[in-house]
Amino acid sequence: MDTPMKLLELRNVHKAYGTLAPGEFATLDNVTLTVEEHEFVSIIGPSGCGKSTLLQILAGLMPPTSGDVQLGGVAYSEPPPGVICLFQQYAKSLFPWLTVEANVAFVMETMPGMSRAAARQESLRYLDMVGLAGAAKKYPWQLSGGMQQRVAIARALAARPRVLLLDEPFSAVDALTRFDLQSLILKLWHEQNLTIILVTHDVDEAVFLSDRIALLSGKPTRVAELVETGLARPRNQITTREQPRFLELRHHLMEHLLSPSLVDAQHA
């Protein structure tokens, strides 16, 4: 493998909503992060630290107050081509008036040289990747939560992204389905040569999936630490989670996320 290429870059990103009262901190204060081609990076931090805001800025859905975000060296403030965001609330992101197949085809219809019929045909290929070819003619609301998120994943893939941004995508499904979706995302990440940035509050999930983890501080929010997981791939839902390195990382991150306020609270 050649030297890895810088793909996404957050440079001194600062985000404040409105004007700040004295003693109030900006949501994001000087966040710098570089993500390389085909990396899997997780962003983790205490709740309310601005993780989702950071992802919105990465998606081009929200401009930073200062600093910039670049894709392949080009700054952007609108969603750039090739960067697709997958939302936590899949049920609100899928179009309930379209069938599963039409939801996926929707993002391909405007591609050059793609007819509506061809987009429908193509959508089956993407649904097959997420194991939902049989549900093509159903409506999203006829499917379970896990299946709906699979449709959303298929739709995101159909847009042929280089970068996939995941905003706590598995937090609304049950624990077993979450394992399935994590494995599916890793498989697709590998097969489609994607670069993935995941925002999560689930330490185990971040360690299990990522190459690197950006640990955010509480407000004012910065990248407190960048952790290289160094866990071997392909990862295994059972054995990877039993490795000493996995437990060590988990311990380290939990210590960061839970201390000191929560520990103190237990004494009260």
Binding site: A59, G60, P79, A91, S93, F95, W97, T110
Partner: protein, 253 residues
């Protein structure tokens, strides 16, 4: 299925009961049959109206006028509502005018409309269109504003053009709210068309109804009233069917 049919039949019990009370009131001499003839004679007249085909022309005229103005109102209100909902500048431009016009009882506009447009279909068309316009407009605007930001962000992350976002994302997402407004408008439109026909019509159901009353053909008047009720019921049922057909997701989200 049988149970659901049973549930609905319970409500229909009122129909024979009402007719029974009606008949009873006349039989015991509590009601003057000159004002309220017995149900039997009304239904007989109704039967004649239907068999002879006399019912067709007024129903067609009323329905035609109603549907033409209703469709015009809906299309205009949805278009303006989408613009006002999506664009703050357009909203600020039209909002005062809408707030000024909305509370005016549209029936009160008939006399001046008759002055300007003459006593005839243009004035009737205008009043029904105006009446049906506002509920759809208000619901469309509120529907657009109530759209979850995730849906808009979805359109943005897939780089949909403004036109595609409005027509393929915002419009369908607003349809449930639009239909709520359209249901209100259909009822209002029905009231206004009958009133307009009474005041300026030459053959619709409202005209015939008042004409029968004025010429003391009381039995016919009640028969036409039943026709009018049936038309209203049919429109409402048709609307419900259309809603189920176009918005199958409505009850699921």
């Amino acid at each position: 299925m049988l149970e659901r049919l049973g549930d609905r039949l319970v409500g229909i019990v009122w129909l024979p009961l009402a007719v029974g009370i009606w008949q009873l009131a006349i039989s015991v001499g509590k009601v003057n049959p000159a004002l309220l003839p017995p149900p039997g004679s009304v239904f007989l007249t109704l039967h004649e109206l239907v068999v002879s085909g006399d019912v067709v022309a007024p129903v067609t005229e009323t329905l035609g006028m109603l549907l033409a103005s209703y469709a015009t109102a809906c299309i205009a209100a949805i278009a303006l509502g989408l613009c006002m909902g999506c664009n703050q500048a357009i909203y600020r431009l039209f909002e005062p005018l809408v707030e000024l016009m909305r509370p005016v009882p549209k029936s009160a506009l008939l006399p001046p409309l008759f002055l300007f447009l003459g006593v005839g279909w243009p004035a009737m068309f205008t009043v029904v269109t105006l009446g049906a316009f506002f509920p759809v407009l208000i619901n469309t605007i509120q529907g657009v504003r109530g759209i979850d930001t995730t849906l808009i962000d979805t359109a943005r992350t897939f780089r949909c053009s403004a036109r595609r976002t409005v027509l393929r994302v915002i419009l369908p997402a607003t349809l449930p709210a639009i239909f709520t407004g359209m249901r209100v408008s259909l009822g209002l439109g029905m009231v206004l068309i009958v009133l307009a026909e009474m005041l300026g019509g030459e053959g619709g159901l409202g005209f015939v109804l008042l004409d029968m009353q004025r010429s003391f053909r009381v039995v016919d008047m009640y028969a036409w009233l039943v026709v009018l009720a049936a038309v209203g019921l049919g429109l409402s049922a048709g609307f419900t069917c259309l809603e189920k057909l176009l918005l199958p997701w409505r009850s699921h989200t």
